[in-house]
């Protein structure tokens, strides 16, 4: 408990990380309130096309080339980005941790086999792999999430394996083996809690990457055709780039802020978990 309080104290002293938390909270509130503030479908055409931001008080962020409310798209897009980012990361972290833990704990042939498998996934260019997966499975929120998880677990597996290899040699683990504790129990209750710090830091950075990947896929037209996401708006706004660049600029800026916030939080977590490294 004291360790946790220390961690909170160190984290709260990091102003950049707190700013990151604030931005993330804002995006979260946007995502949650999207349905209430903009109950209509964000695909509905509710105004004249090409209304610039600030021109009309009713649609304060303007409208796109088909007269859809950009603010509605932005709020509903926040929901999609956060959900895909977090769910894909969760899936990748669980998969990566399982594979990395098994490889690092059992070593030997199990390690060889699992790491070869991981290497295969690291060799295949990730974004192109994600494109192929979505193209084969057909674009939908679930498939985009699966594709992102599928390309991002290897880095977690590598990290967890390294942690397990190191922790396994420590005395408290050797002691657990000596008193006859089962493998699963050692992995889950002895080693994993001690490897959790780096996993959480990597996870927070992976959410950022996942959001960028989702936006990239949606920009290429591989997003769910029924869901308004930030990348989708940018992809559509691209056609009107010359006359109405704000359609592209606004959602892109939202992505930038969200990803920046996640990076700040990730770095803050890292500094708070490894206080000695900070002022090296």
């Amino acid at each position: 408990m004291r360790a946790f309080r220390d961690f909170c104290r160190r984290f709260s002293r990091n102003r950049a990380a707190l700013a990151g938390i604030a931005i993330l909270l804002l995006v979260f509130v946007m995502a949650v309130s999207a349905g209430r503030l903009f109950p209509d479908d964000p695909w509905d055409m509710i105004a004249l096309p090409f209304v610039w931001p600030g021109q009309d008080r009713e649609i304060w962020l303007g409208s796109d080339m088909l007269g859809r409310d950009l603010a509605a798209g932005l709020f509903h897009g926040a929901k999609v980005s956060l959900m895909i980012g977090f769910v894909a990361t969760l899936m990748a972290v669980v998969t990566g941790t399982t594979i990395g833990a098994l490889a690092g704990y059992y070593r030997g042939p199990v390690d060889d086999l699992l790491m070869r498998f991981t290497e295969l996934f690291q060799t295949i260019p990730q974004f192109i792999f994600a494109i192929v997966v979505v193209a084969i499975l057909s674009p939908s929120v679930a498939n985009v999430t699966i594709a992102i998880a599928l390309v991002s677990w290897p880095s977690v597996a590598r990290l967890v394996r390294g942690e397990f290899l190191a922790l396994r040699e420590r005395e408290f683990v050797q002691a657990s083996i000596a008193i006859g504790m089962g493998d699963l129990r050692i992995i889950l209750t002895q080693i994993l809690p001690n490897a959790l710090g780096p996993i959480i830091v990597t996870g927070s950075l992976m959410v950022a990457t996942a959001i960028l990947t989702e936006a990239g896929l949606a920009f290429l037209g591989l997003g769910d055709p029924n869901i308004m996401s930030w990348g989708t708006i940018i992809g559509g706004g691209r056609d009107a780039l010359r006359s109405a660049w704000y359609i592209t600029a606004i959602p892109g800026f939202a992505i930038l802020l969200t990803v920046l916030a996640l990076n700040l939080v990730g770095e803050g977590l890292n500094d708070a978990l490894n206080p000695r490294l900070k002022n090296r």
């Binding site: 060799t123 974004f127 192929v132 691209r238 930038l256 090296r280």
Partner: protein, 356 residues
């Protein structure tokens, strides 16, 4: 100091002496002999990975809805079951899966990646035609990113926690968080639409009939924005890695010795620290190859750059899964090749690695 060369050949050690000792000795005296052997060993190690990638691609191909026969029949809009069966037989799609896999591997061994009916060209020709543009884009972006990233990293590490360090960190943080394709689009708005300085798409001015120097200048003008866009993210990565790496080397004993000898701070930074701090950057080059290929899909789409990425984008739209998988496979090969090159570069930079 010099190790006996026979130690590099653990395979031949326990066998009979080579029948051609003189030839072998002569070979060993060639300046590149060690490198060649290293590359050969490294290629051998990459072979299982290569096969795994091929097998993986085959599985994806089988997972895709609609086989080549259905695609072709759909094209000609005359899909009687008899016609489909005939096509399947012609493509060998009626064979058991393991036979199909064997055919797939056999065709790949002859560099046959299949045929794209949408483009009416073999996939290999399509990819080979587009590869140079992508490699040009990537090589330029990498060079730019490494140069600027290393420079910024050195500048930041020279005065840790100063305003300069903070400024560079903020810049790196922002570039790290910016979506690549959005950056490209915003650059088009600024530099093409508003200022009119740079062309917004393509690789050269169409039908301008330029030659020689004027042609090179034209292509470079088209390259500025795509290269800068693709490089930006990696500038951020290399800046951060370089800064951390420099700080680590600065703490080593031999740097203290250099200081004690009375060397100037500049000389220590550039001659003693920089060289050793560059090693992690080289490692990163190999790791980043795959992500950069992915990034180039977005950048090429934004700037209509006629490379592999743009081809992948077109393949997605035309539902040309075979072409898409061909691209994925070729890109994986590029990554494997890049990693071997990085390993060779590494042994050149740090001879201790070749020994192990």
């Amino acid at each position: 100091m010099t190790l006996p060369l026979a130690q590099d050949l653990p395979l031949t050690q326990d066998k009979q002496p080579s029948p051609l000792p003189a030839a072998r000795a002569a070979f060993n005296r060639l300046p590149f002999a060690r490198d060649l052997r290293f590359v050969a060993r490294r290629l051998l190690k990459a072979l299982p990975l290569l096969l795994a990638v091929v097998l993986f691609n085959f599985c994806l191909l089988k997972l895709a809805p609609g086989d080549a026969a259905e695609v072709l029949a759909g094209e000609s809009a005359a899909a009687t079951p008899e016609y489909l069966a005939e096509l399947r037989a012609r493509f060998g799609l009626d064979q058991p899966v393991h036979v199909q896999l064997f055919h797939y591997v056999w065709k790949l061994a002859q560099f046959d990646l299949g045929y794209s009916f949408r483009h009416n060209m073999s996939v290999r020709e399509l990819i080979m035609g587009r590869l140079p543009a992508t490699l040009l884009l990537m090589a330029s972006a990498l060079t730019l990113a490494v140069t600027i990233g290393a420079m910024l990293g050195v500048l930041a590490s020279n005065k840790v926690n100063s305003w300069r360090d903070t400024l560079i960190s903020v810049f790196a943080m922002l570039s790290f968080a910016t979506p690549v394709f959005w950056m490209g689009l915003m650059m088009i708005v600024l530099f093409s639409v508003n200022l009119g300085w740079l062309p917004s798409s393509g690789m050269e001015t169409i039908a301008s009939g330029r030659t020689g120097f004027s042609y090179i200048l034209d292509v470079s003008r088209h390259m500025v924005m795509p290269v800068a866009t693709l490089a930006l993210f990696y500038v951020a990565v290399y800046t951060r890695v370089m800064r951390a790496s420099m700080l680590e080397v600065f703490n080593q004993d031999y740097v203290t010795t250099a200081r004690a000898k009375g060397l100037s701070e500049n000389r220590i930074t550039f001659r003693h620290v920089l060289r050793n701090a560059l090693l992690p950057l080289v490692t990163l080059l190999g790791v980043q190859m795959g992500t950069m290929l992915g990034g180039s899909v977005l950048v090429e789409t934004v700037f209509s750059w006629p490379g592999l990425g743009r081809l992948a984008f077109e393949a997605v739209f035309q539902r040309d899964i075979n072409l898409l998988l061909g691209i994925l496979l070729s890109c994986s090969f590029v990554v494997i090749a890049a990693n071997i090159l990085v390993d060779v570069a590494y042994t050149k930079l740090d001879p201790r690695i070749a020994m192990s």
